[in-house]
Amino acid sequence: MDTDIHLTTPTDQIAQYADKPYADYLSAEDVQLKSPGWDPTMGGKIEERTLLTPEDIEEEVKGEIHIDYPIVNAFVNLSRLSQSETAVHLQRACNDLLLDQFLDDHDFHGLATVATQKPDKAAEELDRIGDEDKIVGVFLTSTGPRPPLGDPEYDILYQAAEDNGLPIAYHGATNSGFDIEFPIHSQEFEKFVEAHVNAHLWSQTMTLTSTMVNGIPEKFPDLDLVFLEAGISWVPYMMFRLNKELSMRRSEAPLLEKQPEEYIRDSYYFATQPLGEPMDPEHMKTMIDMVGKDSLMFASDYPHWDFDHPTELNGYLRSLFSPEDRERVLSGNASEVFGIGI
């Protein structure tokens, strides 16, 4: 079963399921439902594959990548439309298209498209199609909608989803508003904790990515880079994601001569605060082990309210590392990197 199969839904096709004047609007040449202008094809080195028809899904998804149960989404970025009235109308057209062309006569399931601009109308749409057996969930793009998707404004949408037994599927992407909305979203958090949980993560993943893709550790191999105040759990994710992406898109970072993981292990350091708090301590041990004794350094962030007392980290280090390696994390690495003899 594959939970994320994207259709390419041409606007003129959606227009066939829309009423006037929206249908005509969709046919206008300048209607943009996607594309922030980055080039995913790397200048044509790889082709963008599209799934336009049920036959494409049969042949490529079922036939070639061996998926028995594809769950398809129309992948239309209605949340990006400024005219919410249009978006509301088009959600119906998108879902009718999905049902009529893909779900009714084929062995696929699908996720509903909704216009998040008007959560009450989205809820009505879910009530309209909720008892269609082939509609099994709701597709939401994570960075298109404003405000962020937990805002109480959306409660009515979540209520309708729950009433109709439809799970919500959040989808992250570059072409669903990330280019514009991402920096604006942070201003729309209602509570400090929402901003605080994300600010450190976002700023540090961005900085790690930017330094890596621009080759800072290759340009300046003797320079050490220390990341403070985002904890460590994000590091394995980014390390492995950068390995993957930079092998696929090497020509966008041609200066790099090693895998990102190697640069991270050689030149990057991570201060431990705020050490996350998994319910199962074994998970934190695995995390510390993955980032590694040579890349970690203790930080408390005192006197801020979320400071870490050294005892917490120390407890993990005692059970995980040899006394020498524990020493490295508690003082040795920092003393080397900052050149402080002890």
């Binding site: 790397m42 200048g43 044509g44 080195k45 790889i46 082709e47 080759g215 290759e218 340009k219 300046f220 930079l246 092998s247 696929m248 898109r249 090497r250 020509s251 966008e252 041609p254 200066l255 790099l256 001569e257 090693k258 895998q259 190697e262």
Partner: protein, 121 residues
């Protein structure tokens, strides 16, 4: 090792390729600068049909530590094979992956004999 005649050598013009079926395997045979190169049509990344991808150049880059000048040049036009699935780049002559990892397309000896292309498997 068994020799397989797969085509007449002049069936492939320079810079072109054919995909042949040999013993149930798909083998891409490329002609480049008068030489032939044969690879398994199976990408070491996730098994994509690497031999069916576009042939292009790629960016290479140098950095001068003193002047801080970064040069990015499009090089090796016609010598870079791009896997159509996720874009891993391979050297068209050696089959080596251009990303900094120890992967390569499995290669096979290929030669011409009496105007015919012979692949050893």
């Amino acid at each position: 090792m068994t020799e397989h005649v797969v085509a007449d050598a002049d069936e492939i013009s320079d810079g072109e390729r054919i995909i042949a079926q040999i013993e149930g395997r798909e083998i891409g045979i490329f002609r480049k600068d008068g030489e032939y190169h044969a690879f398994l049509n199976w990408c070491p990344h996730q098994g994509g049909p690497a031999c069916e991808g576009t042939i292009s150049g790629t960016n290479e880059s140098t950095f001068d530590r003193d002047s801080l000048e970064l040069e990015v040049c499009w090089e090796n036009e016609g010598n870079v094979l791009n896997c159509p699935w996720h874009g891993w780049e391979f050297d068209l002559k050696s089959g080596d992956c251009l990303a900094p990892r120890d992967d390569q397309l499995p290669t096979y000896p290929v030669k011409t004999r009496d105007g015919e292309l012979v692949v050893e498997l």
